[in-house]
């Protein structure tokens, strides 16, 4: 059996055990961002090709999305979930031009947002639309990936993703182009 | 300067300096004398063994290694105007049986600049050198002996060669586009990979030319031999001078 032979060979060949380094608990990165976490997040988000809007609180957020993205598939509203279940025909989802998702937190160091499948009914949704709009509670912006993974640990679901800005490629002579396969435009609404 | 140290120094002159660039050996010897050192040059010395070892034949190099140890084991320090030879002794003589003699020689073999800065604790040699000097940071000295901080690392920037030159009167140390890219000599690489080697050398020289270097200096004459070979073939308006020659042009 492939498995047994592989494990046996590993056991025979592995070296003396060396210890795992102690987990980082204090990264001290917060002090580095003189402008504060939210400003750093906004700055980096723009640097990676994303956009943002700022509103005050969930009521303003709801009004904002209604006014500016009324045609979008807004997955903050649980009612539309049943229209896009996991076994939904791909062609239905492929037609979506704009998708709105609630994301769980943002990372200041790289402008990324974390969202897992507890926030959308079909895993294609964060990727397939031309425009992705994510709503992020600005109090949920943390400093770096160490903190990010501490938050995710123990809460891992079937699928989750960090998204930093729009889809991109530089495969054609190192020219940066947005919208390779995923969203051409990614916007964060901070509330 | 008449400081005298109670030290016996063994001078190791690399084979290609011995044969083709004796002036570098002479400059090194004169400099060490000026610094008040008692310097000996064992006549039976030959080579550090690098050419064989870098070609995969380190076993064939063992008799050469042993000759080195034999010639230099009685000295407090072994000093050499060559980063790559010193790196080779310190790192790759590990295949010899590590007798006390071998360990002593490996520990106390120094490249010239690191010897002056780290052992003699000096960095101002009262040099007068009104020229535009481009420092070529030979790889084995830079990354192997840590003569400076390589550009890849995120650490405080420092360079022993720079330290020894920056106080020279009239000197202008040139900033290059690629501060520590390899020149392409690489020992036998220069003949087994002639096209890449020469291309790398030309690119280094063009960097110096673009930025206004008059004289290229380095801790390794092997790099300079390769670069000078290209300079002369291409008739570039550049000169080379080993660091020992520049440091020796002092008023100590």
């Amino acid at each position: 059996m492939g498995r047994d032979k592989i494990l046996q060979t590993i056991r025979e060949n592995k070296t003396k055990v060396t210890p795992l380094p102690k987990t980082i608990t204090d990264t001290n990165l917060k002090e580095k961002f003189d402008s504060g976490l939210i400003n750093r997040f906004k700055e980096i988000l723009q640097h990676v090709g994303g956009d943002y809007f700022e509103v005050n609180g969930t009521e303003e957020l709801n009004a904002f999305t209604e006014r500016h993205f009324s045609g979008a598939a807004n997955f903050r509203k649980k009612e539309i979930w049943k229209r896009y279940p996991p076994d939904c025909p791909k062609e239905n989802i492929a037609q979506l031009k704009t998708v709105i998702l609630e994301v769980q937190f943002g990372v200041a160091e790289n402008g990324a947002v974390w969202v897992d499948e507890s926030n959308f009914p079909n895993r294609l949704l964060p990727f397939i639309a031309e425009e992705l709009i994510v709503c992020l509670d600005s109090k949920q912006i943390i400093s770096d990936m160490h903190e990010a993974y501490f938050r995710i640990a123990n809460k891992v679901t079937g699928f989750g993703v960090f998204i930093s800005g729009p889809s991109k490629t530089a495969d054609i002579e190192q020219n940066l182009v947005f919208g390779a396969h995923g969203a051409k435009k990614t916007t964060v609404i901070l509330y | 300067m008449n400081q005298t140290y109670n030290l016996q120094i063994g001078l190791f002159i690399p084979c290609y300096i011995d044969q083709f660039y004796p002036q570098v050996g002479i400059a090194t010897l004169e400099l060490l004398h000026k610094l008040g050192l008692d310097v000996h040059y064992p006549l039976k010395q030959t080579c550090c063994g690098q050419p064989m070892a870098n070609s995969g034949s380190e076993k064939e190099a063992v008799p050469t290694y042993k000759n080195f140890i034999r010639n230099f084991c009685q000295f407090d320090y072994v000093v050499s105007p060559s980063g790559s030879c010193v790196y080779h002794v310190r790192e790759h003589y590990n295949i010899l049986e590590q007798t006390d003699e071998v360990k002593k020689v490996r520990k106390n073999t120094f490249e010239l600049c690191e010897f002056i800065v780290d052992v003699l604790k000096m960095d101002d040699l009262k040099i007068d050198y009104p020229h535009k000097v481009g420092i070529h940071q030979s790889c084995h000295g830079l990354r192997g002996l840590k003569l400076g901080t390589s550009s890849e690392l995120v650490a405080e920037r420092s360079s022993k060669v720079h330290r020894l030159l920056e106080k020279a009167k009239g000197i202008e140390i040139i900033n290059l586009d690629r501060e520590d890219e390899c020149c392409g000599f690489g020992g036998t690489f220069s003949v087994f990979y002639p096209d890449v080697s020469v291309r790398m050398g030309k690119d280094r020289l063009n960097d110096h030319l673009r930025n206004g270097t008059e004289i290229i200096t380095a801790t390794d004459m092997s790099c300079l031999m390769h670069l000078e070979g290209i300079i002369r073939r291409q008739k570039y308006n550049l000169k080379v001078a080993h660091i020992a020659e520049i440091l020796n042009s002092n008023s100590l």
Partner: protein, 458 residues
């Protein structure tokens, strides 16, 4: 001259092109430097990543068992492949069991290593590589020249011509945005039609059974979420212990690879989608044997970032295809001899041993030390040319005896000084191809010293 040396010579014949290739990759190295310098704790991160990998390799069997246990609990199916043939067969079996014939694949050097595409194609399976760079080289029927930027050796005009032929884009339109849009539309169709999606794995987390895939394009996700069946392929060395360890690696990976803070998408696949199937294929293909080779063990820490390629002055001036190995450049030169020792015996010599690669490696692989060590081992195995070995044997004899050394030196100087120029600079004088030989002094240092000091009784 070795194989690689000849190919490098060919590459350099087009000086302008070679200069462009070199500069393009150097820019990526500079981007990496800028990113790294903005992280004051960068060297500590490297050290930490290195130690995590070292520890993991020392307990690899236990972590693999834990990973499998968790993945199975999550509803994934786990397969083990001892070698490339088994791997290809396992993947084909999954595709066949699902009556599928259309497959999309995101970047995986492991699948290149095992020759998966060719194998599947002979079985009548259509495989579409969906990373834009990979799709370009798939159209051209050539291997990637870089593990992260597979089409880095191509100019936009060449890609425009290729797309004109394959995708009917406008002839002569080489606007990157136009070409990318054409590829987007073409590949979107493939994503929607695909019945199976294959991805590589950047990191496999033992604690949770999660596989992590990092892309800028989102093609791994488009594939894996649209197709009912997703297959993730990993070498055994991709394991890391826990979720929190990802913090270190994700911070290092994109900065080292492309000079980005993070890839656009960092996807964590832990279980299948409702109604879908998730397969993980764990591949050995020589890695467990490699574990026994203490001098070369560190190479198993590699996270496939490609930083060593971007910094290597030889790679930049010879191009990935000149190596003739699945993975080119410095890391390729120390990995290839494990599996293809005869055909890659020249690769450890394709280096000036400058050490830059070791300094940029995010997991601190001692690449330049391993290159040196391989040279010794290959020579011992008589896989270095007999001419070279014989020359070194002679050199070893001469250079260990001062009288012989002195004599040879004197002879060499005499010959160079006195023989006619045409005789010296003949086709056997490889040094003389692009350089002048050093000028010959009237005496060696030793002769000067003897004359100056011994005569004076000094």
């Amino acid at each position: 001259m070795t194989k690689h040396s000849c190919k490098a010579g060919q590459f350099l014949k087009n000086e302008q092109y070679a200069a462009w290739h070199d500069e393009t990759l150097w820019i990526v190295r500079e981007k990496r430097d800028k990113m790294a310098r903005a992280v004051p704790e960068w060297e500590k991160l490297r050290e930490r990543a290195s130690k995590i990998k070292e520890h993991t390799l020392s307990e690899l069997d236990n972590y693999l068992i834990e990973f499998e246990k968790q993945a199975l609990k999550n509803g994934a199916q786990v397969h083990w492949a001892a070698d490339a043939a088994q791997f290809n067969q396992i993947v084909y079996n999954i595709i066949n069991e699902n009556n599928a014939s259309k497959v999309v694949k995101s970047k995986s050097m492991l699948t290149e290593e095992c020759g998966l595409n060719l194998f599947l194609e002979t079985k009548g399976i259509e495989v579409t590589d969906t990373d834009l760079g990979e799709r370009i080289i798939q159209f051209r029927n050539e291997p990637p020249s870089h593990i992260v930027m597979p089409a880095i050796h191509l100019k936009k005009e060449e890609i425009s011509e290729l797309f004109h032929q394959k995708l009917q884009t406008e002839e002569g339109n080489f606007d990157p945005a136009y070409l990318t849009t054409a590829a987007r539309l073409h590949l979107r169709q493939k994503f929607l039609e695909a019945e199976v999606a294959i991805t590589g794995v950047n990191f496999a987390v033992a604690e949770t059974g999660t596989v992590v895939v990092c892309t800028n394009e989102g093609n791994a996700d488009m594939g894996a979420h649209a197709a009912p069946v997703q297959i993730h392929c990993m070498g055994i060395e991709k394991i890391i212990p826990g979720i929190v360890d990802l913090g270190v690696f994700i911070r290092l990976l994109a900065r080292s690879a492309t000079g980005q803070l993070i890839t656009t998408y960092t996807s964590h696949y832990t279980g299948p989608k409702p109604g879908g199937h998730m397969h993980i294929v764990i591949v050995d293909n020589g890695r467990s044997e490699h574990l026994a080779k203490k001098d070369y063990l560190n190479a198993l820490k590699c996270i496939r970032c490609g930083a060593c390629m971007n910094t290597c002055p030889v790679y930049r001036r010879s191009g990935g295809h000149s190596y003739g190995s699945v993975i080119p450049g410095p890391i390729g030169s120390i990995l290839a001899p494990h599996s293809q020792i005869k055909t890659s015996s020249d690769l450890p010599f394709a280096s000036s041993l400058c050490g830059s690669c070791s300094d940029v490696c995010p997991v601190k692989i001692d690449i330049h030390d391993q290159l040196y060590r391989w040279r010794q081992d290959l020579s011992e195995m008589k896989l270095v040319s007999p001419g070279k070995r014989y020359a070194m044997k002679i050199a070893g004899k001469i250079l260990s005896k001062s009288k012989m050394y002195d004599c040879l030196g004197k002879t060499a100087r005499y010959v160079i000084k006195n023989l006619p120029h045409k005789l010296i600079y003949n086709r056997f004088n490889i040094w003389g191809k692009g350089r002048e030989l050093p000028e010959v002094p009237k005496e060696s240092f030793k002769q000067w010293y003897k004359r100056t000091y011994q005569e004076k009784g000094g």
